[in-house]
């Protein structure tokens, strides 16, 4: 197995990216029955090719496929895993809805859910390492109704087995960097303890770098558990949204940090200087060898032009700090599967 070397402060994305206007139109036409399945698949492929190229042009070292084929992060998996049922949308805020699935029978692994996505991404990216994202078992359970399992813990346990099989399938096809998304992780403080165990179980025996993305969450509940995430090498966390206010809490952080420097809920494009300042601040607590740089979260809610400019400035900010690191003799870091 090749041990890759990455430039210091490797840049990446969290996952989602705005869909091109034409893809949205094609999906609409497909749902209206006006174009064929083949035609919409071709559009998805073209969109991924475009979005990956866009990230690479912005200078991102580790691109993802922008989740162009996924409408929603839980729905995408619930549609594939056997045992889910959809009764209809529920409101999440204002006039915004989520197709909340219900677990109505024993859940079963349907076979690879993201492998095709990964293989296509691998094919179109020119970068040695790409990132695959997968929604974690706790978040899938938390955002579903449970009609079948005696407890939520039982449901998460079942899902962790299913996601574990999926991670194995991805690794079997060559995936090296997989990010598990768990935005719901700290929603119920009294469940964090067992959720940590089950996330470890999800990533057990996987020969790849496993990242965990937790956003818009109470990090005071998460940080005491960092060392207990035995199977997780990197935490991709959101800091721009909190004005980089909690950085001192990173003292003694034992894993790699995917440091969120771009606010995905604000259209204002951060300047490279701002990004550089934030990274320097983080380096007070985290060794540069342990630091990756990414936006806070997926960029899909931004207009595409804003998303692209945000990525460009993120990379420009990183380049400024990289020059400073070169003076300290730090040019690159090894791509480590386990930390």
């Amino acid at each position: 197995m090749v041990d890759y070397v990455l430039p210091s402060l490797p840049t990446s994305v969290i996952g989602s990216y705005p869909r091109p206007t034409w893809l949205r139109r094609m999906i609409k036409y497909y749902r209206m029955g006006r174009i064929t399945e083949d035609a919409v698949q071709e559009a998805y492929d073209d969109a991924v090719t475009t979005i990956v190229r866009e990230q690479e042009l912005a200078g991102v070292d580790i691109p993802a496929d922008g989740e162009q084929r996924r409408d929603e992060m839980v729905e995408y998996f619930a549609h594939q895993i056997k045992g889910f049922k959809f009764y209809g949308p529920v409101r999440v805020w204002g006039n915004n809805y989520f197709n909340k699935p219900a677990v109505v029978a024993k859940l079963e692994y349907p076979g690879p859910m993201t492998v095709e996505e990964y293989l296509f991404l691998r094919q179109v990216s020119t970068r040695p390492i790409v990132k695959v994202t997968i929604t974690g078992p706790y978040t899938i359970a938390d955002w579903s109704f449970n009609e079948y399992y005696p407890s939520k813990e039982d449901l998460v346990k079942e899902l962790s087995n299913i996601i574990n099989q999926e991670l194995h399938a991805l690794v079997d096809h060559g995936a090296q960097f997989i990010q598990i998304d768990e935005p719901a992780l700290t929603t119920h403080p009294d469940e964090v303890e067992w959720a940590v165990d089950l996330i470890n179980r999800t990533a057990k025996g996987i020969d790849a770098k496993i990242g965990l993305h937790v956003c818009y969450s109470n990090y005071d509940l998460l940080f005491p558990y960092i060392d207990e995430f035995s199977e997780i090498s990197q935490f991709a966390l959101e800091f721009a949204n909190r004005g980089f206010s909690d950085l001192h809490k990173l003292k003694g952080f034992s894993k790699e940090l995917g440091f969120g420097v771009i606010d995905v809920h604000n259209r204002r494009v951060e300047s490279p200087e701002e990004v550089a300042r934030a990274i320097r601040k983080a380096m007070k607590y985290i060794e540069p060898e342990m630091l990756y740089i990414n936006p806070d979260c997926g960029l899909k809610l931004q207009p595409r032009s804003v998303a692209r400019r945000k990525l460009e400035n993120m990379v420009r900010g990183v380049l400024m700090v990289r020059e400073e690191l070169v003076k300290r003799g730090i040019r690159s870091i090894p791509f480590r599967k386990r930390v």
Partner: protein, 323 residues
């Protein structure tokens, strides 16, 4: 023992209504056209449920959440940002308190909701039904508020003013229109009230068991609060999250209590067994003169189709209970 059924809080919006809101927000639907949709869709949705219910609400079709747009009717309060509503994957815009709070002389958002209820009441489907108007309780309002004024150096003062200057005039106003006020008070719990003394806050609330229904849900409520409040007002308890309340009824039932039993889970699509639920409720119904059967919280956490089934379930539980 008399048994009633009730809708609590909102009812899931129909797809056509959601589409209309989207078009309204984009400026593609005029005020009058939108109002026609509001009336048509609320009527369609609630008329289906009305045959199973004794108490209805406005379905909160005109509301984004329990605080909005209601807080527009309060002087000194602005609309804030999205925050999680307890441990749900549901978000509300919090109230930002910028000055002394007071109910506006003409509360336009409340008026619009009352106008909708009046239109509904004229329809045959709603003959003989009572309507409740859901609003936030003082502790819940205080819990979610961000205070940006020196007028309120402590939360107790804010909660006290909310009762005196907002709820009391509103209760009188709503009663004058023949409606019941439904006070949502999930924050009346041992863990959330913080330094605010529920006793002091509620000692100034006007109204009685007929005009004021206080609904507590999610977290475990203090038993002495339930006992005191249920002697004066109708009290709703969440028996889905706090089933243990049925084990120590003597500790929290006040004098001649009217209790809303939240026995149907509004946060899970699984349908309860009506027979078994009625059997569980027997202990409560033996001790109170009036019982209102409802979901534990707003049915808006459910998809529309399931909300309809859960409403039908309330009537089946009632039938089993009175038999």
């Amino acid at each position: 023992m008399q048994a009633f059924t009730s809708l609590t809080g909102g009812f899931p919006r129909t797809r056509s209504y959601a589409d209309a809101v989207r078009r309204r927000e984009k400026g593609k639907l005029g005020v009058d056209e939108f109002w026609d949709t509001v009336v048509r869709e609320t009527k369609r949705s609630l008329a289906r449920t009305a045959r199973y219910l004794d108490y209805l609400t406005d379905g909160m079709y005109l509301c984004d959440d329990i605080f909005n747009p209601f807080i527009k009717d309060i002087e000194g309060v602005k609309r804030g940002w999205l925050v999680r509503f307890y441990d749900n994957n549901f978000f509300v815009r919090n109230p930002i308190v910028r000055g002394k709070i007071r109910l506006r002389p003409s509360p336009s958002t409340v008026d619009e909701r009352i106008r909708l209820i009046k239109v509904l009441s004229k329809d045959n489907a709603f003959k003989g039904k009572s309507f409740r108007l859901p609003v936030p309780g003082p502790l819940t309002f205080t819990d979610f508020s961000v205070v940006e004024t020196i007028d309120y150096s402590d939360n107790a003062q804010l909660a006290a003013d909310y009762v005196k200057n907002v709820l009391n005039p509103l209760i009188d106003y709503v009663r004058g229109k023949g409606l019941v006020i439904e006070i949502h008070e999930p924050s009346l719990s041992t863990t959330l009230t913080g330094n605010v003394d529920w006793q002091e806050v509620y000692s100034n609330l006007v109204g009685d068991k007929e005009s004021v229904h206080i609904i507590q849900y999610f977290n475990q409520p203090p038993l002495d609060a339930l006992r005191t409040l249920s002697s004066r007002f109708t009290i709703g308890v969440d028996l889905v999250e706090n089933p243990g309340l049925l084990d120590n009824l003597d500790e929290w039932l006040g004098e001649k209590p009217v209790i809303q039993a939240g026995v149907v889970d509004a946060r899970n699509t699984r349908l309860e067994d009506p027979g078994e639920t009625a059997r569980r409720l027997k202990r409560l119904s033996d001790k109170v003169d009036v019982i209102i059967i409802s979901s534990n919280t707003t049915l808006e956490f459910l998809p529309e189709t399931v909300a309809h089934r859960k409403t039908r379930l309330l009537a089946r539980i009632k039938n089993k209970l009175v038999r």
